[in-house]
């Protein structure tokens, strides 16, 4: 089955095993401002891909184009090897889970689940079997006769997920599906979605602005910023090797210490607070004497007793100590007023400093990354 999609194979090397391929997809609602600015993306069959980004970055817009509710202003959307850019939503065979569930209130749970099967003109017997299977899958056997309004939020969400999976769509889209749930239920549903993905292996594109969800669920995460993909990688790579300071700041907690570039490495040498000279892995090349920003995870910033204990150290004054059970969290200030965060494990091996005390914090060179351009305004 050779068709246009194969001929237009994207340079990134997408092939048939890719369930979804986006080529330079652009969306503009008003013709002037672009909300999605040329996204290239390939999703493997059976992959769990998360689109993570701050509010207004265009995540929903991208999903709406995938689902067929919005037309891309430019570019192509290829699903299952076919260009669907001009195909109406109901012909795309895509399951969708909405933030507000969107279960039909006038139908029972079983009727809701049967709906996509009826639309595919499946026989009554098979529909009943499948509905039973789906209820079993989300562990809600016996609730088929209820109306959505008679279910709890978590139960409704499960039915919404089951309804999106029951017709074995070639792609499942979820737009912040856990956004309406409280925190505890969220964790539970997260596990549930992970289990379903593991059991059934559907291709899922999942949208969220919760980085915890993104990291624990996904095979890969695409970090979205201002309508573009900032970085797309497995969660560990994203966390350990962010490609820019936006990603570094968006995924997990990070310290950002302004610095001045002295020399390029590896490792680069930088001046912090005018005095201390430290080294870090530099990600992008910038001229010497320009500003940069060093990013260090709080758990990699350690309290040291002597200058020589770690290759890089800075002097700080403790400004805040809070107790978190398994650890203490310290906020400390450099002498030019920049705050850094660190954690001290509550394992009895280290003493906890008092507020106002001067201490030394240090790090290994490979734990710090320097990004050109200083502290960007997009974060915090």
């Amino acid at each position: 089955m050779l068709n246009a999609a194969v001929k237009n194979r994207p340079p990134s090397g997408a092939t048939f095993e890719h369930a979804v391929v986006l080529q330079n997809v652009v969306k503009s609602y008003d013709g002037t401002t672009q909300v999605v600015k040329g996204v290239d993306l390939s999703v493997r069959s059976g992959e769990f891909l998360t689109i993570l980004g701050p509010s207004g970055s265009g995540k929903t817009s991208l999903l709406m184009m995938l689902a067929g509710f919005e037309q891309p202003s430019d570019g192509a959307i290829i699903i299952g090897g076919r260009d669907v850019s001009r195909q109406p939503a109901h012909k795309r065979n895509i399951g969708m889970v909405f933030q507000q569930y969107a279960l039909f209130p006038h139908l029972t749970v079983a009727q809701n689940l049967a709906f996509p099967l009826e639309m595919r003109r499946m026989g009554r017997r098979e529909i009943d079997d499948r509905v039973g299977w789906a209820l079993n899958l989300v562990k809600l056997e016996g609730l088929g006769a209820r109306r959505p309004a008679q279910l709890s939020g978590g139960q409704q969400q499960r039915i919404a997920v089951a309804r999106a999976l029951i017709f074995e769509p070639q792609l499942v889209l979820m737009d912040e599906p856990l956004g309406a749930l409280d925190k505890q239920l969220r964790q539970q549903m997260q596990d549930e979605i992970a289990r379903l993905h593991h059991e059934l292996r559907p291709t899922i594109i999942y949208v969220t602005h919760d980085q915890g969800e993104a990291i624990s669920l996904s095979d890969r995460v695409a970090v979205f910023e201002g309508g573009k993909i900032s970085q797309i990688d497995p969660p560990t790579a994203l966390y350990n090797a962010p490609r820019n300071d936006f990603v570094a700041g968006f995924i997990g907690e990070n310290n950002r210490i302004p610095a001045r570039i002295i020399s390029h490495g590896p490792p680069s040498r930088l001046a912090v607070s005018g005095r201390a000279i430290v080294s870090a892995l530099s990600v992008d090349i910038a001229p010497t004497e320009t500003h940069a920003c060093i990013m260090i995870r709080p758990e990699r910033l350690r309290r040291v007793a002597h200058l020589c204990q770690l290759p890089n150290t800075i002097d700080v004054v403790v400004s805040e100590v809070s107790y978190h059970g398994d650890s203490y969290r310290l906020r400390a200030s450099l002498d030019d007023g920049i705050d850094v965060i660190t954690r001290i494990p509550n394992d009895g091996t280290q003493s906890i400093p008092d507020i106002g005390e001067s201490i030394l914090l240090g790090w290994s060179t490979e734990d710090a990354r320097a990004f050109a351009g200083g502290v960007s305004a997009t974060i915090r």
Binding site: A67, G68, P88, A89, G95, F98, Q100, F104, A164
Partner: protein
């Protein structure tokens, strides 16, 4: 400090409205209901006759002499201050000829004090006495009987009204028919309109709102005049149709002062009552549902039939019920543009209240209308509560 029970507070808050409703609404309705079965007029005029006839069995022929005496005394007492003609008129409504009989008899008694049977042979007919006995009983079913074109024969059995006097059942039928047609047309015109209203952009929405609310903002007379200008034989619509050769000069359409006038104008006036509740329901349905339907594989038609329509059905029912119930009671519009064939039951009620002063009949007609509305409302709330929708 003891908390007041929320129950008590609730009652205190609704009390003023409750009292208001009681005084201005429930009491008049109660009065009307009472009026339709309680008619003490003749009993008040013929008090002695009433007592004398109380023990009389109508199956035994004529009443005893005490009945004749009592009536003579009553008529003598009534003579002189117009109450004879009041009685005569009232009885004549029940049976023609009674007016003349009563007046002649009263005159004769006043002048010569002769026995009744000598004054007029009809006093020897038991039917006359049966009528008197029935009319002197204040509690009566006769208004309800006439309201459904029935009457009680002198022998006491219930039969249909003479053919020439059967009008109310027909009028009730016409009223229900008109209400149904108006409701149906409102649904057909109003559903797409409400949808357009609910989905339009703000500027367009303001314009559409203006159009639908226009009948509310124009005074009744202006509106009616406008309809007359438009719909009459030489009106705008007919002129256009003739000019376009769609209808010929001689077959101009009769659109006003008949049933079609009533239908057209009532639909216009009642359309907002259908559109607005439906609009509110449509506005409350997030786009998500239609989108969910599409993503699950339903094309536009099936999304509409299986999802949108059922979800908007409560709005359709609410609007339709409102229009139907309001139509049942409509009376100004039919009176102004309905001509003879466009009159509804309410016009008859108004006639009996204002012109013929037959309040009992007006009350009985009104009560029947009320019962129809109450039954409909109960059916409707049953349907909606059962979650059929």
């Amino acid at each position: 400090m003891r908390q007041r029970s929320p129950h008590r507070t609730g009652w205190t808050l609704v009390l003023p409205l409750l009292v208001f409703t009681l005084v201005t609404f429930l009491a008049p309705i109660g009065f009307m209901l009472w009026k339709s079965v309680y008619d003490p007029e003749v009993a008040g005029l013929l008090g002695q006759t009433r007592q004398a006839l109380a023990k009389w069995q109508t199956s035994t022929g004529l009443p005893g002499p005490e009945g004749f005496d009592a009536l003579s005394r009553d008529l003598r007492d009534l003579t002189g201050d117009g109450r004879v003609s009041q009685l005569a008129l009232r009885l004549n409504r029940e049976r023609s000829g009674m007016r003349q009989l009563i007046e002649v008899t009263a005159d004769a008694i006043a002048e010569y004090d002769r026995p009744l049977l000598e004054i007029d042979p009809r006093w020897g007919d038991p039917d006359t006495w049966v009528l008197l006995k029935r009319m002197t009983q204040p509690l009566t079913a006769r208004y309800f009987l006439s309201a459904v074109d029935l009457q009680q024969t002198p022998q006491g059995s219930i039969v249909r009204q003479d053919e020439s006097r059967r009008i109310y059942v027909y009028l009730f039928g016409r009223t229900i028919l008109v209400a149904s047609v108006v409701t149906a047309v409102c649904i057909i015109l109003g559903y797409p309109f409400a949808y357009a209203l609910a989905t339009a952009r703000p500027r367009m929405q303001r314009l559409l709102f203006f159009i639908v609310m226009l009948p509310f903002w124009t005074s009744l007379l202006v509106r009616t005049t406008a309809w007359i200008v438009l719909l009459q034989r030489r009106g705008v619509l007919n002129e256009i149709l003739v000019a376009m050769n769609i209808v010929s000069e001689r077959s101009r359409l009769e659109l006003i002062y008949n049933l079609s006038g009533t239908l057209i104008v009532m639909t216009h006036v009642l359309l907002p009552f259908f559109v607005l509740p439906l609009y509110a329901v449509m506005k409350g349905i997030p786009k998500q549902y239609v989108r969910a339907g599409k993503s699950l594989g339903a094309g536009p038609v099936r999304v509409f039939l299986r999802i949108y329509l059922p979800m908007t059905l409560p709005g359709v029912l609410a609007g339709a019920a409102l229009v139907f119930i309001l139509s049942l009671g409509y009376y100004v519009t039919p009176a102004l543009v309905g001509g003879r064939t466009g009159q509804l039951i309410s016009n008859q009620i108004a006639f009996h209240v204002q012109t013929s002063l037959n309040w009992g009949l007006a009350a009985a007609l009104g009560s029947i209308l009320l019962v129809i509305v109450v039954v409909l409302t109960m059916l409707l709330s049953r349907v909606t509560q059962r979650g059929v929708l």
